[in-house]
Symmetry: C2
Subunit: 308 residues, 2 copies
Amino acid sequence: MKVPPNFSGVIAPVLTPIGEDGAPDPDRFIEHAEWLLEDGCTALAPFGTTSEANSIGLDDRMELLEELVDAGIDPAKLMPGTGTCSVADSAMLTQHAVDLGCGGVLMLPPFYYKNPSEEGLFRFFAQVIDEVGDDRLRVYLYHIPPVAQVGFSLKLIERLKNEFPGIVVGLKDSSGDWSNMKAILEAFPDFELFPGSELFLLDGLRHGAAGVISATANVGARAMRRLYDNWRGPEADAMQAEISALRKTIQSFPMIPTLKALIAHYRQDEGWAEVLPPFTPLPKAEAERAIQLLAEQHNFRLDFAEAA
Amino acid sequence: MKVPPNFSGVIAPVLTPIGEDGAPDPDRFIEHAEWLLEDGCTALAPFGTTSEANSIGLDDRMELLEELVDAGIDPAKLMPGTGTCSVADSAMLTQHAVDLGCGGVLMLPPFYYKNPSEEGLFRFFAQVIDEVGDDRLRVYLYHIPPVAQVGFSLKLIERLKNEFPGIVVGLKDSSGDWSNMKAILEAFPDFELFPGSELFLLDGLRHGAAGVISATANVGARAMRRLYDNWRGPEADAMQAEISALRKTIQSFPMIPTLKALIAHYRQDEGWAEVLPPFTPLPKAEAERAIQLLAEQHNFRLDFAEAA
């Protein structure tokens, strides 16, 4: 019998708004997180790649997570990113998330040294899990080789799953490679697999995926949620086609600055367009082109007033 | 007139010994740093790639640096690595190093996101330098594209140099690409360039390099120093040939675990062979093969008793 998944549905790697002082802005952050849950997200994954997590200081990351929980967001719905290049800092962030009651953590592998051995990666995760030493811990592996360069082989996933049953419970696959997702779904049917893009949402669900964790859920969770809730229905393929078309237009622009520019526009809040280095904000003209193209081709708009 | 360089000569990116608890071992670390200065190093670059810096927690990095200074090592001779993926943490480590009186810092670019724009990288460094806001700061850019993937173009170097004269003063070039080092030396004759390998020591010095910062200086600084002190002499090419031959044998093994295995062997201290994940220690048989090969082909040995 398949155990009910810990997380499922549509999860947004929450964008991190930046204040005038160049540091993350907790108020805008909480407001956005709450809006995402209203807009259809079943859970939130703050401090992912889309969140510019690695561009944020460790202390700020912990403080922001506390702010979300203090604001009343159910920590069971939070799967913060906690993977860094060191066991020590990864264990610190992970312990902090567990102590706050987070439903899980999304862990990057150490990504500085390239071509690490499978044994070395296994030891990294084993040491983090042992240091945290908490039964409440649920680890989701974060496979994103296009950015991290370092990823998870099927063999490594199997080893971690077997060594830490009930703790290493899932994986976000941002490889963009459907054959890899399919291989994981087939090899480990009890694993919670989340494609890293809604391009693979329907195919994923049909093969046993738990849902999706996608950057664009920051501006388009509602449609993804509709598909997630109705994927066995007759409209599923048509919904997927619309979702995919929108995604492709958005990703034809630089993803993170564009998502922030869209929110800045529809919230009429220019500050939202700020990003942390090494990113730069989307130039005004590009932002206008994105807004227009999305409106014309996909009838795209964000209505924050409605949600409030 | 060329300003005298802030750093010059042979600099070791100090290996970080690991204690039985899996954390860095301050006592062995201090002992090794002191020995390196006796063995010919003119200065030390703790927390480089060879130091497994990114595998160490931020708090431990700051504590270890304090231990070196507390042990009596002249901070003017220290060029710690302080570059992380975030402005906030890079500024924190850099401020800490400046406050301790370190002669400079060696800064990686943010290395999580790939293909950042030149403008984005410029802003990253500008923000760190502004946040630290200290005239005593001396920044050495750390160019190591084979590992970090993100590097410094000539144009970016020029922009940083011009924007922060007297602060951005040098670069360690671990590209392994002599044409890149030559281009930097020719474009910026007043810049302190350090090749990241002694394979380029003599060529570097002949073209105006300030010295060398090399992993293998952890076990072979003496010969490099002899060449540095006598590079205009008649024996220089022969010395370089010997140094290069030794380097090539060492780098035919996995660099960091091998350097630690060599020290473990000659110190008769097995604990020295420990590494942090994602590295794994060199297997015993491999270590023995390295020790034997180096002894036979290069008459290599380390005499710690002599230095003490």
